[in-house]
Symmetry: C2
Subunit: 436 residues, 2 copies
Amino acid sequence: MAKITPISGFPEWLPQEKILEDNVVSIVRGIYESHGYTPIETRSVEPMSVLASKGDVNKEIYAIERASAEKSESKEDRLALHFDLTIPFARYVAQNFNELDFPFKRYQLQRSWRGERPQEGRFREFYQFDVDVVSIDDLPICHDAEMVSIIYKAFTKLGLGDFQIKINNRKLLLGIYEHFGLSEAQRQDAVIAVDKIDKIGPEGVTKELLAIGLNESVAKEIIRCAGIKVSTSEFASIVNTLGPTNELYKAGVSEISEVLNLLVPGAADRVIVDLSLARGLDYYTGTIIETVLTDHRSFGSVAGGGRYENLTSRFGNKNIPGVGISIGVTRLMSLILAKGLLKTKERSPTRVLVSLPNAETMPKAIKLAETLRSRGISTEVFHKPSKFGKQIEYADKKGIPFIAFTGENEALEVKDLTTKEQRPISVEDLVKLAKK
Amino acid sequence: MAKITPISGFPEWLPQEKILEDNVVSIVRGIYESHGYTPIETRSVEPMSVLASKGDVNKEIYAIERASAEKSESKEDRLALHFDLTIPFARYVAQNFNELDFPFKRYQLQRSWRGERPQEGRFREFYQFDVDVVSIDDLPICHDAEMVSIIYKAFTKLGLGDFQIKINNRKLLLGIYEHFGLSEAQRQDAVIAVDKIDKIGPEGVTKELLAIGLNESVAKEIIRCAGIKVSTSEFASIVNTLGPTNELYKAGVSEISEVLNLLVPGAADRVIVDLSLARGLDYYTGTIIETVLTDHRSFGSVAGGGRYENLTSRFGNKNIPGVGISIGVTRLMSLILAKGLLKTKERSPTRVLVSLPNAETMPKAIKLAETLRSRGISTEVFHKPSKFGKQIEYADKKGIPFIAFTGENEALEVKDLTTKEQRPISVEDLVKLAKK
């Protein structure tokens, strides 16, 4: 007898939880599609040599190997499960370059795998829901604003409580570091150090800045800048008095201003420009975005991304700038389920259960069920002749709201399981009732 | 520079192909849900020891291994990618037994992996779309009929041309073999031999039957029975004169009759009872089902399944009978794409492209786009100020049907890219037009 083993880091949901996840996905997909983003998927595997170029992640990659494989397969040619959707997307764009329409706007919902140590909100198998737009040679900043607008609309519609969209710009950050005389190498290190400010505090970041060779007064200035968190209305007045005036800084300020100008109505109230936001990943070059649920700040970002200079740099010499965001669906679901942020009584899509008093009723019950289904009502026929009490219990347990009883000739009654009321009804009215 | 490598057996679709696949999936999901089936997903991996109990498939299983893994991980404890959805479903039911509502009706759309040699319609990574109902101790035959009805409705709605649903029953088959005096072992071998009749013909099957020790006259009788293919109206009269009268045979006849009686209207015309249908998999115990597209018979079955006695036998002593079918989505898509069975001009979900004559128009264009999106119209704003010709070309290439032009004040015009006509329009009428 095989053992039944939950596997750490490989989460699974119960039916009622999966229905919630499907609702979340459907809301996000609806927003992505409403902006004209098209679905793609990629294979789950890439050659190890393609994935392994990303330093630290290497040891977390899962290689796959057929049980019957010859041992001679070289390590480099081995296939491995992707650990994010960015590299597969880049490869897909490079591979299908001549078949795609640019700007290419795509969304992608797929599982990824990372063999890291499982912990709260970190999984070994997880869904990410990415949306990106990439173009050839240049891509206007309006798309960066679109990403912020998409997050605003998605999290408004998801209804997970208050949220805040933090934005910043890498050019502005690097402009600050240039202003204070940091070397090229120090600037990269400073980005990584400042990124940790929420976790290790200003003192911790100061220590790291001193460790990369900055003097105390410069470190202090950088911490001062990183402390700036301004609403969209305050942004212009504050950044212009912060100190730096170099071209890089001004470009960053100008890009942020443009993003703020092009947001959809309402979004600005949720946006804060947070100069401590840095995002460790080194491929961002302009706008950076993170989103936190206000009541769950310690959980970290639930949707983030940014602008990058060239998606396909590792695959060729095309220049493909882009901007995109990613929602960690499995991560987000783990929070939603743990904190009960969304609830449903539904344990099935069924709206109407057609009761079955005896076996002879079956053809009639099936006919009624088919009528309801053809009108868009998800319908089950109770599976075997049983007492009404048992059928009601079944419907109640599954969260099915209505039971239909077929009688002599065309007689039809409905029981509403919320009000417990039972009454005669026409098929037409039953359809209306069940559609509510 | 990393190589861009298609990987044999791991298919990917272009955006316009993925849109077709999404349509196929959405139709099938709609039918599954209309019958009250609830979505679940399982993790992609199981312990090797759980998967490897299935004989021949073993060598096709992909094990996964972290690049950093200690070599001491024993072979048996290794994780492996599932090769179908049946074993994971069985494990899920056993694991969550106390949390589920029985009869448990679930559908499941997921990738599976098999390291077999890629060939037409056979992939190493592929989607299957399964639907099953399982219950405790007994499950009425009406559910077998429901599976046939689901296939009927799905393939009618998919519009892939004529199709035929073949059904048979394992009890009836085994009753025939009992009647002709086959031993227990010979009966199983005969099932496997008869299953190949479409591939190797009656002569080939005869050879195999002789090889398992049957004499020529018995082999001839079995081939004669396997030759029976009857419409639902002829079924009763023909099976009752075929010869066998034992209990097993009569049980099979009775189950098929009940399935035929409980089909939804219209389905019977597509159903044929085909006594050569055997389905090699040994876990079927009653109804068996296969579906062929009439114009593509050589492609084989596009949707099949059947009744099994105990889903969870390998995980415990619960008795969980069930019936289910599976649609090989990737396989089916490969046929649809190769033969052009479905076509679309769509390369994006966008219905309206809002034209952008100059940068100053952007806020106005975004406002119009948001209005349309809030009314359910997928809308893009052209990404940068350009000549109209270029914007029309972009829309045409992507299959976007309408371009909206914003003018002075609230003026609005629409160009229909099918008729090439351009005219003034109200927002309200544009919504109606784009919704068509």
